[in-house]
């Protein structure tokens, strides 16, 4: 007989500890959201002709599996960079209007990866916990959308290069600000 089976006493699952919390969602929701957002980001930014290409499908599966199995900020960043690369190859220059919904989707993937990294699939997460800081997220996404709209407006006007440079400088300043500083 299988020795593992002999000592497997858990014919029925063990009882749970009752905790009284608000409405919750299970932890496996986050990998699901990750899968959906990752495939959406990669397939929509890739050319439609690639969708059946075995190489693309392999890359798609690898990246999605990577972000699922190792849900770290680094893998999420890698996936976003890959999305950016695809967007560069397929998007309409100088600014693809799909960025208006791709940017919020990228943020969703980023947060879902964070949650998946911290919450095991069997855990429960309070819905109010998910919604904490929604104002901050809304403000960030709103700012991005405004920037995108402004950039879109600017790209249709003459003097494009100067505007791009200006925007790039502003974003560089933002990136420098986010750099960790020693206290």
């Amino acid at each position: 007989m299988n020795p593992l089976r002999r000592f497997n006493l858990r014919d029925q699952p063990l009882p749970t500890i009752t905790t009284t919390t608000g409405p919750t969602i299970p932890g496996w929701t986050f990998p699901l959201v990750q899968t959906l957002t990752a495939t959406t980001l990669l397939t929509t930014t890739a050319p439609t002709t690639w969708h059946t290409h075995p190489l693309f499908l392999t890359i798609l599966a690898t990246l999605t599996a990577l972000v699922l199995l190792r849900p770290t900020p680094a893998t999420a960043g890698l996936l976003l960079t890959a999305t950016g690369a695809l967007l560069w190859t397929t998007g309409t220059a100088p600014l693809d209007p799909r960025i208006l919904w791709l940017a919020p989707l990228a943020h969703t993937l980023w947060r879902a990866t964070w949650w998946a990294a911290h919450v095991p699939p069997t855990a429960r997460t309070e819905i109010t916990a998910l919604l904490t800081g929604w104002r901050r997220t809304a403000a960030a996404i709103g700012t991005t959308e405004l920037l995108a709209l402004a950039a879109w407006a600017v790209t249709t006007l003459p003097g494009l290069e100067a505007a791009i440079l200006l925007g790039a400088l502003a974003l560089a300043a933002l990136a420098v600000l986010t750099l960790p500083r020693e206290p």
Binding site: M1, T81, L87, A103, A106, T132, L165, L171
Partner: protein, 447 residues
């Protein structure tokens, strides 16, 4: 009750989220500048913005304390309240709550302000029980800062057995004392009339029956009094066989594996049975003593009263098998007060208890054996099934022997379709009541 608090929680530490966000932002930004495509930079903008927002860590750590209710705990009431005092900008708390025999519980909850989380275990076990162990982690809003896990340990708690109201229970044949709830056959202070007798020193003058005196001694030289039967009390000795504790799953016997906390074990049943019988006896005014076979310590002396019942309940809850040695060494028959009835709570899995019963029966103590073996779960392993078959045959033989010596055996764990143990106890009480002084029937000597 103890209220453990997270002592000096560690400071907030940055996570890799921040570095990853900056790196991704810079890469996409560089790509945007090199390719002249602002949309690439915009892809990383929300991430950079939210990360920037959480540049500084929360000012103070999140703390918690576990409050366990004071007072007595009964089976199924293992509860506690976790109070969280979160840091101002850290509204996420991740709790990992573990308890012996329970599945680990992971919960992420929102803690915008101080919050209380009620916790409850599904355990129906009694006796000393380990309770909650909570690991706590806190995150800030965007997950950039986290507080390393801190631990909270709930105190070990003593769970008292519950009691079930019973009807009449068997009493000893010989009642003792001069006061108590039962009428004895001795002369004394009571209410039941015994006879009319000439007045003796010590008789109460108010008990003089003047009508009889006038008839029998018209010149009033000898007053006659009504004498009554004394009242008496019964003494019962509860003997708890706590040398072993077996659950309904035969694979967990002899301390293998983990026992499910929602299955009462033999000792839980014994505690429940003993507490119920003690309550019935004490509520009717009798005296109850207790002896623990698993331990060498002074027995609980016979007494009555509500406080004594509480002491008995505590002593029952504290009875537990000490080590493996306790089951192997032979036990000495505990001393029983003369004229007391013995209630023995045992699983009847070894010969020691039947030997004890025989010794008590020789001393003319009535004995009631309460079989506390739980109803076993189905056994799937052939070798265990064979082992249990042999053990069961031996046990059945012991029970038959006990029946032959006139010792009733009452199974405490009964199926729903069987009559409950109180019915058996009532029938037994009725039988001993009708036959006040039966001698032990030893028609067939065992083996």
């Amino acid at each position: 009750m103890t209220t453990p608090t997270t002592d000096r929680p560690p400071a907030w530490t940055p996570t890799t989220t921040r570095h990853a966000a900056t790196a991704t932002g810079l890469v996409l930004l560089a790509a945007a500048v090199l390719t002249g495509r602002p949309d690439l930079a915009l892809l990383a903008a929300p991430i950079l913005l939210t990360t920037l927002w959480s540049a500084t860590p929360p000012t103070r750590p999140t703390t918690a304390h576990l409050h366990q209710p004071a007072g007595e705990t009964h089976a199924g009431q293992l509860t506690a309240t976790l109070t969280l005092h979160p840091a101002p900008t850290a509204p996420l708390t991740h709790l990992r709550i573990t308890a012996p025999g329970h599945r680990d519980t992971h919960t992420v909850i929102a803690t915008p302000t101080t919050r209380e989380i009620p916790l409850r275990l599904a355990s129906v076990r009694t006796g000393p029980q380990d309770t909650f162990h909570i690991a706590l982690r806190a995150y800030d809003t965007s997950g950039v800062w986290e507080q390393p896990p801190t631990d909270l340990h709930g105190a070990r708690r003593l769970v008292l057995p519950a009691t079930t109201p019973l009807g009449p229970v068997p009493l000893p044949h010989a009642l003792r004392g001069l006061t108590g709830p039962h009428t004895s056959r001795r002369l004394g202070d009571g209410t039941e009339l015994r006879d009319i007798h000439p007045f003796q020193p010590g008789d109460n003058p108010r008990r003089i029956d003047w009508r009889t005196t006038a008839r029998r001694s018209p010149d009033l030289t000898t007053p006659y009094t009504r004498r009554t039967l004394a009242t008496a009390e019964a003494t019962a000795m509860l003997v708890l066989d706590s040398r072993d504790d077996v659950g309904p799953d035969i694979r967990t016997w002899r301390n293998h594996g983990t026992r499910r906390p929602d299955d009462p074990t033999s000792l839980d049943l014994a505690r429940h049975a003993a507490a119920s019988i003690a309550r019935q006896l004490i509520e009717s005014g009798d005296r109850v003593a207790m002896e623990d076979l698993g331990r060498r310590r002074r027995p609980v002396p016979p007494a009555s009263g509500r406080r004594h019942l509480r002491r008995l309940t505590h002593a029952l809850a504290l009875a537990h098998p000490l080590d493996d040695r306790a089951t192997s060494h032979t036990i000495r028959p505990p001393q029983i007060p003369s004229g007391a009835i013995v209630y023995l709570f045992t699983t009847l899995l070894d010969d020691d208890t039947t030997r004890l019963v025989r010794a008590w029966r020789t001393l003319a103590h009535p004995v009631v054996v309460i079989d506390t073996l739980p109803t076993l779960h189905p056994i799937h392993q052939p070798h265990l099934r064979l082992a249990w078959r042999i053990t069961r045959l031996e046990r059945d033989q012991r029970i038959t022997d006990l029946h032959h010596t006139g010792t009733p055996v009452i199974h405490w764990a009964t199926h729903t379709h069987e009559p409950p143990p109180r019915t058996h106890l009532q029938a037994l009480a009725r039988r001993t009541h009708h036959h006040p002084s039966p001698t032990p029937r030893t028609t067939r000597t065992p083996r």
